[in-house]
Amino acid sequence: MNDPRSLLRRLGPRHWGKWALSLAKAVFILGICFTILYPLIVKFSMSLMDQRDLFDRMVKFIPNTLRLSNYPELIGYMKYWTALGNTLWLSLAVALAQVFSSSLVGYGFAKFDFKGKGLLFACVLVAMVLPPFVSITPLYLNFKSFHLFGLLPADALVGNPAPLLILSLTASAPRCALYVFLARQFFRGVPKEIEEAASIDGAGTVRVYFSLMLRMASSILVTIFLFAFVWQYSDTLFTGMFYSGLDTLSKRLYLLGYTFGAAISMDASGTAGNIGYISIMQATGTLMTILPLVILYFFMQKTFVQSVERTGLVG
């Protein structure tokens, strides 16, 4: 490495093919990264713009006047902090419940041979491809009319987090079947000998699962948690149906273009600018909605990528 001649040799014509290949790779990877980040960059530049910059064809990424007040205004429109708090606790509760149930069920499918297993697993596959809107309305009606033989007051299970948590705990929320599938694939790859050794040492089946298997599966659990959290975080359909009273970030973001139109047109000063102002607010809102997820993602991504490395997902 220290010898300048060896460096020279590496740059020599014999290695040009190699260099060209790495260059092509680098261009490709950079290009894809740019394509993925590009919409975020555009939104960020929009979020700093005044409405006039939006319609000015001379303005590219950098606005003429830096308008930082977009952010406090958006935080007001979206009731950002309340909505963020609501979203975080709901997503956390739902994601934890889904991780618990889907790993439990996945383990059951991976490690036990019981009667009717094939049929039940076919049910998992059906649940995986079932469009959520096929069953959501009957589901809503059932939850609404459920009163446990008159013991519960009317509408006890609508308008609170209970339906979402019940669905999550029974692994029947949307996409839970996919998590069951992922967990099953992971547990299938764990050698039998580990459980046998533990049970010879006197641990019961349930204890083997909770104190040994779950710890081994931490990487796949993190992956499932991330997916479940993100899904609940950005969901409007199920949350809107079962817990419509709660102000979540996804709901406020969804409403930004519609009901806020009236409020915005009253206090915005420009004439043609209202559409532009709503657009700027939507771009800023999307950024502010994604931001907590990106922060979470970068904290968890090391474990997440490791789990990708290790998971022997066999189809």
Partner: protein, 306 residues
Amino acid sequence: MKRMKRRKQLLAAKRNRYGYLFVAPFLIGFALFTLLPILQSILFSLSDLKLTFTGYELSFAGLKSYQRALLVDADVRRLIVNALVQTFTQLPVILAFSFFAALLLKNPFPGRGLARSIFFLPVIMVSGVIASIDNSNLTLATMMNRNTADLVNGVATSFSANKLILSLFSDAIPAFVLDFLGKAVDGIYDIIMASGLQIIIFIGGLNTISPSVFEASSIEGATAWESFWKITFPMMGPYLLLNTVYTIIDSFLNVKNPLILTIQNYLMSFSEFSFGSAVSWIYFGIILLVVGVTLAIISKRVFYYE
């Protein structure tokens, strides 16, 4: 000896009973929150729904809604065909892209960690409201195009640039191939955004192939090209299957899919509810059929290394 064996079998049977305990949450959930609503939804699709003071009333209407969806309604058939065409034109591109990306991201290079984080970022950006809000943003598309137009050197938009380049080959290559390629290039953003999980699954798969296999084959004189087609590609069969199924489902159930929006609109209004249920059942049937046929075709050719 025989008794020992029998005892072991009994123990195994006893242990296997725990399986029901572990699967119980899903069993209950599937029966109550999936199967029951599905059956109710079939009932809705076969009935007329009337609002009453106490709730709703069903009267049997037979296959009326199905007839309307398949024979009378102008939109449903077109949207179903569109969804199928969209899925099957994107499927090969998504699979090829994610496989290629996985191969690139597997081996170490400076900055690989960062590149991987960015490649997987779409996983958190394509779900729910985050994906659909951009469609309702009226000036975002203009902003995106204005900036890219500048990047491709003053050509009016990036899209016409693609057409221009492709038209240079129009004598040598049949038009439908060019059309397909043009669409693939235009949709490159959608394809990248739809490939997040697939790349993850392929990388996971590539890591299961033991390096000693490649060592042995290179000692035997195989080139990198040969070992790719004879080792890597066949070993990826199960993952290819998983990704194919996942991609098909993901594309059919995507929030951006116009048919899904139509069905949701129907289901939101009470008077059209039976019709909406019928359309969603037709669609669900088609998805099941497509996934089933794909599974049957591919799983026969997949090689399982045990």
